[in-house]
Symmetry: C2
Subunit: 129 residues, 2 copies
C-alpha cells in the first residue's frame, strides 16, 4: 500500500484554519512547527497540520504560544530518566488543575448568561405583548 504522502502548502493550511500565513510562519519562528522545505518553500506534512490544529486549540483556551510549546515538549520529551518522568508528571498535574479551574469558571459563567438570557426573553415578551 503506497499511500499518497499528502502534503500542504502554507496557504492551504492558512485557508483551512483561517489564519494568515504570517501567523503560521511566526509559529515556526517560535519553534512550534518545523515544516520541511523544497528549496526555500515550506512543505507541511499531516503531522505538521495536526500541530497547527493543536496550537489553535491552545489559543482558544488562552494558552500563550510559549505554554503550548511546553506542552509539545511534554509529548516529545525524553522519557528515559526517572527524574524526567517525575517532572513531567508534576507539569501534567499543574496543567490539569488549571484546566479544571477553567471548567468551573465556564460552568458558572454559562449559568449566569443563561439566567440573563431568560430574563431578557421574558422582558421581551412583556414589551411585545
Amino acid at each position: 500500500m503506497i499511500e499518497s504522502q499528502k502534503t500542504y502548502s502554507i496557504s492551504d493550511l492558512a485557508k483551512e484554519f483561517e489564519v494568515t500565513t504570517r501567523s503560521i510562519r511566526f509559529y515556526e519562528d517560535q519553534s512550534l512547527i518545523k515544516p520541511s522545505r523544497r528549496g526555500q518553500t515550506r512543505i507541511y506534512s499531516p503531522q505538521d497540520r495536526v500541530r497547527l490544529k493543536l496550537i489553535l486549540r491552545g489559543k482558544r483556551l488562552g494558552f500563550s504560544l510559549a505554554e503550548t510549546r511546553r506542552l509539545f515538549d511534554l509529548y516529545d520529551a525524553d522519557r528515559s530518566s526517572v527524574q524526567q518522568l517525575h517532572t513531567m508528571l508534576s507539569l501534567i498535574d499543574e496543567k490539569k488543575e488549571h484546566l479544571q479551574q477553567q471548567m468551573e469558571d465556564i460552568t458558572v459563567v454559562l449559568m449566569e448568561l443563561s439566567s440573563v438570557e431568560t430574563r431578557c426573553q421574558s422582558e421581551l415578551k412583556d414589551l411585545i405583548k
Copy 2:
C-alpha cells in the same frame, strides 16, 4: 440593623486577590470599576470587590478586559427597547457558543493529559522495578 458598611482600600484588595495596585488602577482606567473616593483616596465597596473578582475570573477564561467590560455592560444595560434586548440576546448567544467551544476543548485536552499521565506512570513503574 445598622450593618457595618464594609469598605476596602486598594491594597486590601490587591492582597486578597494577589494582584498589584497598578493592575487595579488600570482596570479603573479602562472603566471596569468605579470606586468612590475620600479626598483622593479610592474606597472600594463590596460591589466593587465583586467586580474585581469577576474581572479576574474573566482573565482566567482568556477574556480581554474589553470583553469583560462588554459583559458588564450586558448586565447593566438599558433593558427598555426591543432593539436593545435583541442585541443583548445575540451577544449572549455568541458568548455562550464561545464558552461551549472552550468546554469541549478543555475536555479533550484533559483526556489527553490523563492518557499521557497514565503512560508516564506505567513507564515509571517499569524503570523502578
